[in-house]
Amino acid sequence: MPHDGHDNGSKLSETELRVRALESLLIEKGYVDHAALDQLIETYETKVGPRNGARVIAKAWTDPEYKSWLLSDATAAIASLGYSGRQGEDMVVLENTAKVHNLVVCTLCSCYPWPVLGLPPTWYKAAPYRARAVSQPRAVLKEFGVELSEDVEVRVWDSTAETRYLVLPMQPSNTNNWSEDRLAEIVTRDSMIGTGLVGSNA
């Protein structure tokens, strides 16, 4: 089938001009402050990201008490590590097991737990994932290289409210004696969305 080209080149530069004009207009009007904008960007580029979530997961793997707190009151347990606030005000953690695999999506927009995972990747925000995660989760997982046997129940969580979901992936069996720090390094972003598994050779 022919695939009609989509002229991104000219489109994006037009969009770029629109954004620049809007930003300078809003600054001129005094509605936004340039330094605050830079601060916002810097925060999400350097401080908030999936390394936060990885710390949560690693702690849950090494501290049974923390894990049980995390599963019963995720917001408080995550805040105790210093991760809280915008787009993570009300957290729920979903535990993967040998029989249950959880997968998170937002079909209506792109809700995502910012304090623990940062800003969502492009694929999470785009139509293919949002369209198919709910109706064809196993096929979607295959595109991420994850094949689950039929006896594993696949649970998809559609983030339609302000509740934000974080997946607690299964700990690789050969990492039981690993330190929390070492474990945090192998926890991937995708494993906390549910589109990946954690391996011990990451």
């Binding site: 969009t15 954004v19 509605y31 936004v32 209506l108 039929e150 129940e153 998809v156």
Partner: protein, 219 residues
């Protein structure tokens, strides 16, 4: 609204193509669009449901042909114009022409960290008991409002089971219309794959959707 944003279960969008090496922002304008949207959000001139609805009003084909931050840009421009914070002519000329409105809150650099940490929970005080209990079966209403709703099309008129009671939360359908927060109980409702997709469901799969009292009826 039954808009192009309501993507669950739709076909024809092609492969997912995750890029493991993508940067947080792929273009400089995305970075600026992100920051400007957040900063304007902090001024309190609209709520999050109004922001979402503004993005959904993009022309359906255009919505599908553009990316996330282009949706944000459309939404932000729409809200700014609608609230008369800027004018069409200012937008076109790229120059301020009218006296700015006085905003009670403007985000300064030193406010960024505390403001982000504070966030803005949609949770409200619980009054009385939840209408449904864990394990109850419910049927979602078959509604088709022209306004904003968080009940996706694929899950309307379907039978599910209350899995979790999240608490009392702002109701987006009224809040997006600027009517009232109408706080009510919110649940995670579990729908079996077959209930949603019939014979086309994948084996041993289910979907949990966060739904408010106003979307639900006793099964």
């Amino acid at each position: 609204m039954n808009g192009a944003h309501d993507l669950g279960g739709s076909h024809g969008h092609g492969p997912i193509n995750p890029d493991p090496n993508e940067p947080l922002f792929s273009q400089e304008w995305e970075r600026r669009c992100f920051a400007v949207t957040l900063a304007m959000g902090f001024t309190g001139q609209w709520n999050i449901d109004q922001a979402r609805f503004a993005r959904e009003t993009m022309r359906p084909g255009k919505y599908l042909e553009t990316t996330y931050y282009e949706h944000w840009l459309h939404g932000l421009e729409s809200l700014l114009l609608d609230r008369k914070l800027i004018s069409q002519s200012e937008l076109k000329s790229k120059k301020a022409q009218n006296t700015p409105k006085t905003l009670s809150r403007i985000l300064k650099a030193e406010d960024v960290a505390p403001a982000l940490e504070k966030g803005g929970s949609a949770r409200r005080q619980e009054v009385g008991n939840a209408k449904f209990s864990i394990g109850d079966f419910v049927i979602t209403k078959n509604i088709h409002p022209a306004n904003h709703t968080r009940l996706p099309r694929y899950v309307r008129g379907r039978r599910g089971k209350i899995d979790r009671i999240h608490g009392v939360f702002v109701f987006p359908d009224t809040n997006s219309a600027g009517l009232s927060e109408k706080p009510q109980w919110l649940y995670a409702v579990r729908f079996e794959g077959e209930e949603l997709w019939g014979e086309d469901a994948e084996p041993n799969s289910c979907t949990y959707v966060d739904l408010w009292d106003d979307y639900l009826e006793q099964a």
